[in-house]
Amino acid sequence: MNTLFDKIWDRHVVQQVEDGPVQLYIDRLYCHEVTTPQAFDGMRARGIKCLRPDRIVCMPDHNTPTHDQDKPIADPVSKQQVDTLAANAAEFGLTHYGMMDPRNGIIHVVGPERGLSLPGMTIVCGDSHTSTHGAMGAVAFGIGTSEVEMVLASQCILQQKPKSMRISVEGKLGKGVTAKDVALYIMSKMSTSGATGYFVEYAGSAVRSLSMEGRLTLCNLSIEMGARGGFIAPDEVSFEYLKGREHAPKGESWDKAVEEWKTLRSGEDAVFDREIRFEAEDIEPMVTYGTNPGMGMGISSHIPAEEDIPAASRESFKRALDYMQFAPGDSLKGKKVDYVFCGSCTNGRIEDFRAFASIAAGRRKADWITAWLVPGSWMVKKQIEDEGLDKILEAAGFEIRQPGCSACLAMNDDKIPAGKLAVSTSNRNFQGRQGPGARTVLASPLMAAAAAVTGYITDPRTLL
């Protein structure tokens, strides 16, 4: 009661359906090419138009190649999906940032950086990582394609109100410990289903100390512990980030908006369905060793022994280690790495490339490493160039590619070959996620850079 989640959610309730869900008004719908074609088909079949086209923004990101974007996509199926989104946006009168448009990029990177995602909003997208936008102080969550169609048709969605959880991380984060490590640490404690049914508010001094980019990373990973979404109450960090962004309010409306946003916080008397607290000093740079993001550990730790795993989970644990070619009790330090991926809606922002470059500077990429550095948007790419990071990275043997989801889910050509070990800043280490047979270790951009320059999984703190 009286949580920030309650305040935003309750204000958006259009009606309570009898013995059913609530009808929730949606301020912003994002559409990408993968989860929307069938929703637009449904609209055509019903013969209806979008109720509020000005609240909907479309852009392709999943299928886009990360090189030669000025040329047609070679894969005809990918091309068809990207073209279908453009055609649907035109037919239904929706804003569309196509490939090569300087506003294009991964939807969850573009929304915040363009000021399209604002505090107090309800935001949805047919993508589970929509929780990212929660970092702006919004209620943002992923939905399915039928639900996309609901919003296209009525700017509303039918939902059960989730329960509320507050996760506080208190204290000061150690050297080399990033927002990604905080998220992987929380997931390792919560498991992949520990927050299912909940909307999470992240709080505490360690969370407050994160930059906006770090907060976006933390909220991005909420779904990986099952949470419907995660968010952080807006504060000066958020206002500073938003000020002057393309779609953020301007002039007098800006001052008015900030006044209102300042009220967006949980009351002193707020009651959460669940409260959890972690200590920042317990968190080290993290790696995952298994095939879900909850199977993570500090870089100094060892993979658990089989007998430490509950009986019902043992079969899944064994399958995961078989797939990863790791053994119980193993340390990951010193494992030889084949591929490094820095990018995705989790870690494809400017701060992530600054972190990567901080380790790459003055060093060389290991010969046998294939590294894909993929900015989350054209805006991030431009910032990398404006700051001269591209020069530092090129001198170290790295190349900056063009923006898109890329190797995070390998829907374009950026696939990790079967059996190869990748250190990846993305969000999922599921079997085959980065290509059939690919073995993924999730980690921060610092850990990825450390692997890229040494060729082995290496504690990045030794290189800082």
């Binding site: 394609t145 048709a153 299912t196 879900n292």
Partner: protein, 198 residues
């Protein structure tokens, strides 16, 4: 596919694994399709477990074992975790499953199933363990899912449990209605909300 639900009595396909994620239910490469043809997705349900690299059926996977079949998939805890892809629900529906029984479902996937006329039935850990046992002993044993009464019964042991579903969704399932039919009738309420919150 829109269909009316009432009482379903069927044999089951057991998948006693936890955390079956949507990348396993339908790998990302099938998400490039712009079709909603459920058969296409159903043919590729659990593709990387079901087929070997050369495309031949993997004999060790349960869907390729002729001993098992039916309208009901029984899966371990936290079924459908991961991505929001509704393609996973289309694949389950397209394969022919009407019901998925588990002790826990990931949120988005659960909604996606309901929106595609696949009924997710949440049972206790104990019920689930016993059901896996019963199926292992006799693959021809049947389970009854009574939607009006909201009960699920293991007919081998006679154990029965109540399952939760909200009245609105139950009505939709029993009458083959979807949410968009409902929302399109609420335009006045939407406009009133917009006016009040302008």
């Amino acid at each position: 596919m829109k269909q009316k639900f009432n009482i379903i009595k069927s044999t089951c396909v057991p998948l006693p694994l936890e955390n079956v994620d949507t990348d396993q239910i339908i790998p990302a490469r099938f998400l490039k399709a712009t079709t909603k043809d459920e058969k296409f997705y159903g043919d590729n349900l659990f593709c990387d477990w079901r087929f070997n690299a050369d495309g031949t059926p993997n004999k060790d996977f349960v869907l390729n074992n002729p001993v098992y079949g039916g309208d009901i998939l029984v899966a371990g805890k936290n079924f459908g975790s991961g991505s929001s892809r509704e393609h996973a629900a289309w694949a389950i529906a397209g394969y022919g499953f009407k019901v998925v029984i588990s002790s826990f479902f990931a949120d988005i996937h659960k909604n996606n199933e309901l929106n595609n006329f696949v009924l997710p039935v949440v049972v206790s850990e104990q019920f689930l363990a016993e059901l896996f046992d019963s199926i292992a002993k006799d693959p021809k044993m049947e389970v009854t899912v009574d939607v009006p009464a909201q009960t699920v019964t293991n007919n081998a042991t006679g154990r029965s449990e109540h399952f939760a579903i909200n009245g609105y969704k139950k009505y939709c399932l029993m009458n083959a209605l979807d949410d968009i039919d409902f929302l399109l009738q609420s335009k006045d309420k939407i406009e009133a909300w917009e006016k009040a919150n302008a």
